[in-house]
């Protein structure tokens, strides 16, 4: 009886290992983008927007306004790369400080930052495809 229990536990373990190692290509890409995106966020965005996307009072908007983020999904890549120079309303508060661009970021950098910020701080946007972001960046201005 005891041997049987151990046997089943062992079998379950082997199956779960097999299952989790069979992550799809997409999931692996997502995880890689997310981790790289976090590093890029810390380097390029965190000074103003904060480690938890909390922003800073009325100077720098938070990244926690999930509605704004969702409704402006296509535009986010342009904001990340080229900055913003118009008034926006985030969490009910108007922000009009000019955001400087980060023009040195490449399309893959922007994609990774999008994956990280779009799936942190309460946002749940899921994956971003490099091809789409690349194409979107060409139509920014």
């Amino acid at each position: 009886m005891r041997n049987k229990i151990i046997y089943f536990i062992g079998l379950g373990f082997v199956f779960s290992v097999l299952f989790y190692s069979c992550q799809s290509e997409d999931q692996i890409t997502f995880a890689r983008y997310y981790v790289n995106g976090k590093g890029l966020y810390e380097k390029n965005c965190q000074n103003c927007h904060g480690a938890n996307g909390e922003g800073l009072k009325k100077l720098y908007p938070a990244l926690t306004d999930t509605t704004y983020i969702r409704n402006n999904k296509a535009r986010l890549s342009c904001i990340i790369k080229y900055g913003l120079n118009e008034k926006i309303i985030i969490n009910g508060q108007g922000y009009e400080e000019k955001m400087p661009g980060n023009t040195s970021l490449t399309a893959i950098d922007v994609t990774q930052i999008l994956v990280y910020t779009g799936n942190s701080f309460g946002n749940k946007l899921g994956a971003f495809q490099l091809e789409n972001v690349s194409a979107g960046l060409k139509d920014c201005r």
């Binding site: 000074n47 103003c48 904060g50 800073l56 009072k57 009325k58 100077l59 400080e97 400087p100």
Partner: protein, 215 residues
């Protein structure tokens, strides 16, 4: 042998406790010997570096001078409003200091703008307002670039100057400098690091509890 080790360890532990309880902050900067008259006798005494008299305009275009800081401890830093590198992090941390000592008449904060062309008092007012700062406990000051760069290097020992090769046009360090009621330098903390600023807040309390030497 074991017994001695035990006693030694005990002594070390006790000493550690002692120094923790009666921590005094060091006095930083240059110092020199000078003669001083005490009860009619001339004695030699150490004279420490102090902050020289200054005069700037604050966010309400009101002159701010060293006299406004008499009998107070204060934290000084150097920033500019359009800075997107270390300044937001510094002032995110400085806000904690502000909230901790809010309405304490013995504590002030002095933020010097190093961008005298763009950061006019009106601009500083907007910045302070967006940071949620009211009143004059936290002064954001505008001065000529010469005077600000001079005071940062010579008085506060912080590097801050224009540099055309930098992407934003300035080189500056994120130190928070703690100054006591006698305008002596008592601490320097990395204003971009939250844990260092925690230490500073504790040190500020020590400094507030310190008896002021009669001059």
């Amino acid at each position: 042998m074991k017994f001695y080790l035990f006693v030694l360890a005990g002594i070390f532990i006790l000493q550690a406790c002692n120094s923790g309880n009666n921590k005094t902050l060091p006095i930083l900067g240059e110092r020199e010997l000078a003669d001083r008259t005490v009860n009619g006798k001339i004695v030699q005494d150490t004279v420490y570096q102090t902050i020289a008299p200054f005069r700037y305009l604050n966010q309400d275009s009101i002159p701010v001078t060293d006299k406004d800081f008499n009998g107070k401890i204060y934290v000084a830093d150097f920033f500019f409003t359009s800075c997107n590198t270390i300044c937001p992090q510094m002032h995110r941390n400085m806000l904690k200091v502000y909230e901790q000592f809010k309405d304490n008449p013995e504590v002030k904060i002095l933020s010097h703008s190093i961008d005298s062309k763009y950061d006019l008092p009106s601009r500083l007012k907007i910045y302070a307002g967006k940071l949620g700062i009211e009143g004059h406990q936290w002064e954001f000051v505008h001065g000529s670039s010469d005077s600000i760069y001079n005071v940062s290097a010579k008085n506060y020992l912080v590097a801050a100057y224009e540099d055309k090769s930098d992407a934003q046009g300035f080189v500056h360090q994120g130190w928070f400098i703690l100054v006591d009621k006698n305008k002596r330098l008592r601490g320097a903390y990395d204003g971009t690091k939250a844990d260092q600023v925690e230490v500073m807040i504790k040190d500020m309390q020590i400094l507030l509890d310190e008896k002021v030497d009669a001059k």
